[in-house]
């Protein structure tokens, strides 16, 4: 067995690390901006694909597979992970795709197919209509189920190609924007309509399947989202009863069996205040937030993916232990409209404490570009109970130092400290309902910034040298700390 990891960033690093532990030879692929990225150095071999978009280029990825003699491809998440044409091309080339079959992807990965399958086997779905490619069809569906509605790209995910529409007159513009986004991201302009239900929790079930049977490995609550991007994920869900949990597991396993699902996947549901659940969609791949389940079960989901792909039997359902919470550290400015940020990581220190896991795709010196997803790293804390995990994650965030790129670090702490989070009152609308003011900068920070800026700027060369070395060299003539009395370098 030899596995090519067709991805980048933290997930490529995470998959490659497990492959090393398993002693499975691995291959990384990289694009021009990622030439020196951390994942490239974790693999036994690395193949350049070229331009920034090439992670989506099926022929080029397959050429890398052929050249290196890889027997399997691990697609990670995003990029080609839910591409039925790619899964099919792998099969045609005699290469094992570590994920579901193209048929299962079409039946479940595509939102339209998924709704139809769920309805057929009696798993409840959100009221709506599957075929709404025109404004007229969408309006008719909306008037039947009632406003507001969510307009969703059939091939979509991660909130791309999705719009919340409150009134009929806003529909034409929303449809135009959603279709444009959907075509750019998935090359698929098809749309469906779902009634916008609230308040609801977003609860998803991790499944593992072998084409015949399926097992639910626990749920994750991911209600805290903004613009449909998850921000904080945790397990167990703080807001569902055990009977609801069993119902979710049953629905998830039935859906997986109905389509002969293979390998790891996530079945997403909305859960209403009364505990009723509605099937949303299947993420036919490993998910960003999979470490939450790993910390709760002690399982390595990537190892299980590889073993299931090799024909190993499924594990049994496992009783979770304690509580785990994940925070997504993104290159974005939470106090300026969450706009994506770019830059060079000038300084980076991760927390080092027991029961905290860091899945990162960057290191000091990394260039963060806007070519790719803003996710830089995930911090995941485990605790014997929810509050212990919450406090641990807060401390881990306090001990994280990342300079050079603006991140949402402060915002993540604000959420974990907020009353609603402490109380477990987490719904899909919670984050956007609250105001998130930029907290005041501590006086000593403004004073230090002022002092640093009072000295002439360093030359570009000196800056580069200082930034790369982590600095602290006593003879730095540009240092604003030199000759400043009660002021010392902590080098």
């Amino acid at each position: 067995m030899k596995v090519l990891v067709a991805n980048r960033g933290e997930i490529a690093c995470r998959v490659l690390r497990t492959l090393r532990e398993m002693d499975v030879p691995s291959i990384a692929v990289f694009t021009e901006p990622d030439r020196d990225a951390p994942h490239v150095w974790l693999a036994g071999e690395a193949v350049g694909l070229g331009e920034p978009r090439a992670y989506l280029d099926i022929p080029r990825v397959l050429e890398a597979v052929r050249r290196t003699g890889a027997t399997h491809v691990h697609p990670g998440y995003g990029f080609l992970s839910q591409s039925a044409p790619f899964a099919r091309a792998c099969r045609d080339a005699g290469v094992g795709f570590i994920g579901p079959s193209p048929e299962a992807m079409v039946a479940l990965g595509d939102k339209r197919g998924a709704r139809a399958t769920a309805e057929r086997i009696g798993v409840p779905v959100v009221p709506g209509a599957s075929e709404c490619d025109s404004v007229e069809a969408a309006r008719a569906a909306a008037e039947r189920v009632g406003w507001p509605i969510l307009l969703k790209a059939v091939g979509g995910g991660g909130g791309k190609g999705m719009r919340l529409v409150h009134r009929a007159e806003d529909l034409p513009e929303a449809m135009e924007a959603a279709r444009r986004e959907a075509v750019a991201a998935f090359d698929d302009a098809r749309m469906l309509v779902e009634k916008y239900v609230f308040p609801v929790r977003h609860v998803e079930v991790q499944i593992l399947a072998d084409g015949r049977d399926a097992v639910a490995l626990g749920e994750r609550e991911c209600s805290l989202q903004r613009r449909y991007q998850k921000v904080i994920e945790e397990a167990p869900s703080p807001g569902i009863a055990d009977s609801t949990r069993q119902g979710l597991f049953d629905s998830a396993e039935r859906l997986a069996r109905a389509v002969g699902y293979q390998n790891a996947g996530t079945v997403e549901f909305l859960v209403g205040p009364d505990g009723s659940h509605y099937f949303l969609e299947v993420n036919a791949r490993l998910q960003v937030e999979h470490p939450v389940t790993e910390l709760l079960t002690g399982m390595d989901l990537v190892r299980l993916q590889v073993e299931v792909a090799r024909g190993a039997p499924l594990p049994a359902r496992i009783a979770p232990r304690g509580h785990a919470i994940e925070a997504r550290l993104n290159a974005e400015d939470p106090y300026a409209g969450f706009l994506p940020q770019a830059g060079k990581v000038l300084m980076l220190e991760w927390p080092q404490r027991p029961w905290v896991r860091i899945d990162s795709g960057i290191r000091a010196g990394s260039e963060v570009s806007t070519h790719y997803d803003p996710l830089l790293a995930k911090l995941i804390a485990w605790g014997p109970d929810r509050d212990a995990a919450r406090r641990r994650l807060l401390e881990a965030l306090r001990e994280t130092t990342l300079l050079g790129v603006t991140t949402n670090q402060g915002f993540l702490s604000q959420i974990l400290e907020s009353g609603f989070f402490v109380a477990g009152e987490t719904f899909t609308t919670t984050l956007e309902k609250h105001q998130w003011p930029d907290p005041p900068v501590p006086a000593e920070v403004s004073a230090a910034a002022k002092r640093a800026l009072s000295v002439r700027a360093p030359s570009v060369a000196a800056e580069a040298a200082g930034a790369m070395e982590g600095a602290g060299s006593g003879g730095d003539r540009f240092s604003p700390w030199a000759g400043m009395g009660r002021f010392r370098m902590d080098a």
Partner: protein, 127 residues
């Protein structure tokens, strides 16, 4: 530069500091921020001037106003795209479009001026 001990009001603070050619990054427990020389204010995308600057590197998808147009606060002036997500840039106040410095399809850099607005009250102040 990396970690320094900075004394303020008689108390020592451990801060992470990296100076760049433009400004300085300061990190403290739980947070980091970039400061630039003028006012030593933190950089953000909030419009401090009449000029709306690109809050990120990306592509101009739509320009919805032209020079001379009257706009209301929160009206969408243009749509930017980065990482396949769309971002609407809105007018921070009521006013008149004094200039548009980009066109649809342009690639713009972080901080690049895109639109200039003249406030409706004619003065420079606003809340």
């Amino acid at each position: 530069m990396s970690w320094i001990v900075f004394e303020h009001d008689g108390k020592p603070h451990r801060l992470a500091v990296v100076r760049t050619s433009v400004g300085v990054w300061v990190g403290w427990p739980g947070r980091a921020k970039f400061f630039v020389p003028e006012r030593a204010a933190a950089v953000g995308a909030r419009p401090l001037h009449d000029e709306l600057r690109a809050p990120m590197t990306g592509r101009v998808l739509k320009v919805k106003v032209a020079a001379g147009a009257c706009v209301r606060a929160n009206q969408v002036l243009l749509i930017l795209e980065a990482m396949k997500m769309e971002y609407q840039m809105q007018a921070p106040f009521d006013g008149t479009v004094a200039g548009v410095f980009c066109k649809e399809g342009d690639l713009v850099d972080l901080g690049q001026p895109l639109v200039k607005l003249a406030p409706a009250d004619g003065g420079g102040s606003r809340t």
